[in-house]
């Protein structure tokens, strides 16, 4: 067998005179990256993070309370889950409420390009939360997950706005009852 170890020892000596041995408890690359991402978040006044277990930074909840636009007055929460391959895979993001939104389906799945086909490892959590925030300000009908909501938005913005208010109050639209998300009455 090739004597690789003598080369390894030589490399180690060259790199470190006092020889850093062992790596019994190494921080995983995903944790390292999320730590960096978190310290660079800009949450503003409309967003808040909640960590059910602060030691597990790969799982947290983001609260969004839009202060303008159609969804103003609502409180929406999203679970963020980063897998061991983050940032080579996008974070998994789900809305915890059943809401009426053309880009979020009834199970909470979110259609945001950077969470799927346009994700790149150079993007970070801040890019995702900016994207989510934007979805509440500018819901778009062109890439829908909730087809009815998208059709409503396309045909009449006024009608769509009315439906959003009904849904946010816990009302029903076409037989589907939505979760009440209003923080004010």
């Amino acid at each position: 067998m090739l004597k690789i170890w003598s080369m390894k020892s030589a490399q180690q000596k060259a790199e470190n005179a006092d020889g850093a041995a062992g790596k019994k408890k190494k921080v995983t690359p995903a944790q390292l990256r999320v730590q960096k991402d978190l310290s660079e978040l800009s949450l503003g006044s409309t967003m808040k993070t909640v960590f059910p277990d602060p030691d597990d930074i790969l799982n947290f909840v983001l609260e969004i309370t839009p202060d303008e636009g159609i969804y103003h007055g609502g409180l929406f929460t999203f679970t963020f889950t980063m897998g061991p391959n983050y940032p080579h895979e996008p974070p998994k993001v789900r809305c915890q409420q059943k809401i009426y939104h053309p880009n979020i389906d009834l199970e909470g799945k979110v259609c945001l390009n950077i969470l799927r086909e346009d994700w790149k490892p150079v993007l970070n959590l801040n890019a995702v939360i900016v994207g989510l925030q934007f979805l509440f300000l500018e819901p778009n009908a062109s890439d829908p997950l909730n087809k009815e909501a998208a059709d409503d938005l396309r045909s009449s913005r006024e009608n769509f706005r009315r439906n959003v208010r009904i849904a946010m109050g816990g009302g029903s639209i076409r037989g589907v009852t939505y979760d009440r998300v209003l923080t004010t009455r």
């Binding site: 850093a20 310290s39 030691d55 799927r116």
Partner: protein, 438 residues
């Protein structure tokens, strides 16, 4: 003469042994001794993948004199949760499989076939995903050869082997030989984990296949493949025309083809055909038997050279051999540079001497005064433990009480634990330290 060689017939190994007994400019007397010759019998080698490349690799390793081979096949079918089994479409190039083997596990059939063909070799099959094994399993091998078509699996084994390297254990550094093909193109790489560039360092050599978002499939297909995936994933699930999808049943494929075709017409998309439907549904990656043979052969020769030191191997100078048969033939062997900021093998943690009785606050204060750090707002974590984060506010509040705890007693930190320190003033940097107690 090595014992096993005599048992299985002298003639088979005669010429190989002759090469190995001959002293050349690149080996020493100790490399050509009878003792050194016998080491090949004891080398335990792991093959990952038992598909087109894997079959070739197993055959070649056995014919090169390796005696103790393990093979894992985890399946490449992205829709199946179970290990991939032999499909009728594999038989054209995965030559260890016969028609009777359809439906059986690849690793098992391949192992049995080569064992029967090459006397004296022991091949142990594992029908599972590589991720199901831990470091203890991988530690038993001297070398790993990959013949995979999954980038994820390559990256996983690469990261595992890099993480296993332990300065206190000579046997922890396992050479990784990686072969890959696509159509007429292929590559062979050798990685000596932590010593030479790893797979992750070379990740930008791949052009990722774009995943189609479900919302595109559901609402605005643009390509014939989108219509087929829609029929496969959405329409089949809604209508359930047969109890379960059999990708070899022409009736099932025809159903998907008709559905996809109708959808394509609805959206004015052309190009949906029966064979495209079959290709998309079966997730067929163009594979050419002879490209597999070329790449597998070069992988196995590198394995033999590393195991026997018969000749210099790929790895320390040049580490990457590319083969291209797309436009006549071209091959090039080149040196790939290690990436300083590689997520897997870069940023080696530096030792940091601390007093175990310091509070976390005292440790953080020391970061602000240390000349080579000068951090004003450090956040610090250990593996699976958030020690103190300055941001976001909620986690700052949750971890604030740690500041007055001592490192060893209070926070459970110990020698050889790694800590990672970030500071918003240096967004591009993560400082990693291995704790040493003063």
């Amino acid at each position: 003469m090595a014992a096993a060689a005599t048992e299985s017939g002298v003639s088979r190994w005669q010429y190989l042994d002759h090469i190995r007994r001959t002293r050349g400019p690149f080996n020493q007397d100790s490399d050509v001794s009878e003792e050194a010759l016998a080491t090949l019998d004891k080398t335990k080698i792991l093959v990952i993948g038992a598909g087109g490349l894997g079959c070739e690799i197993l055959k070649n390793l056995a014919l090169s004199g390796f005696k103790d081979i393990h093979v894992i096949d985890m399946g490449t079918n992205s829709y199946a949760l179970a290990p991939d089994t032999i499909d009728i479409s594999n038989l054209n190039r995965q030559f260890l499989f016969r028609k009777d083997d359809v439906g059986k596990f690849k690793a098992e059939v391949a192992a049995k076939f080569v064992e029967k063909r090459v006397q004296g070799v022991k091949i142990t099959p594992h029908n599972c995903r590589i991720q199901e094994f831990d470091e203890d399993f991988y530690m038993q091998f001297q070398m790993v050869v990959c013949g995979l078509d999954s980038i994820e699996a390559r990256r996983w084994i690469n990261a595992t082997l890099v993480n296993m390297v332990d300065m206190e254990n000579q046997d922890s550094l396992k050479p990784l030989i990686d072969g890959g093909t696509e159509g007429f193109k292929g590559q062979t790489r050798v990685v000596f984990p932590t010593l030479t560039p790893c797979i992750e360092c070379q990740l930008d050599l791949y052009t990722p296949r774009a995943a189609v978002p479900l919302c595109t499939l559901a609402t605005i297909p643009r390509q014939p493949e989108h219509c087929i995936e829609w029929a496969h994933i959405i329409a089949w699930d809604q209508e359930k025309p047969f109890p379960s999808l059999d990708k070899d049943d022409p009736e099932h494929i025809t159903w998907l083809y008709r559905k996809a075709l109708a959808r394509a017409q609805e959206f004015g998309i052309t190009g949906v055909t029966y064979s495209l439907t079959q290709g998309v549904v079966k997730n067929i990656i163009p594979a050419i038997a002879s490209t597999n043979a070329i790449i597998a052969a070069s992988c196995c020769n590198e394995a033999l050279k590393i195991a026997t030191t018969a000749a210099p191997s790929l790895g320390f100078e040049e580490s990457y051999m590319m083969y291209s048969g797309d436009d006549s033939i071209y091959t090039n062997t080149f040196k790939y540079e290690k990436k300083e900021d590689c997520a897997v093998c870069g940023e080696v943690a530096k030792p940091l001497e601390v007093n175990p009785n310091w509070t976390l606050r005292e440790l953080l204060d020391s970061f602000s005064t240390k000349a080579d750090l000068q951090l004003k707002k450090p956040s610090i974590r250990a593996e699976g433990k958030t020690l103190y984060m300055q941001f976001p506010p909620s986690i700052e509040e949750q971890t604030r009480s740690n500041l007055d705890k001592t490192l060893k007693e209070g926070l459970g930190l110990d020698v050889n634990h790694e800590v990672a320190v970030t500071d918003p003033a240096f967004p591009a940097l993560t400082f990693r330290f291995i704790l040493r107690f003063a």
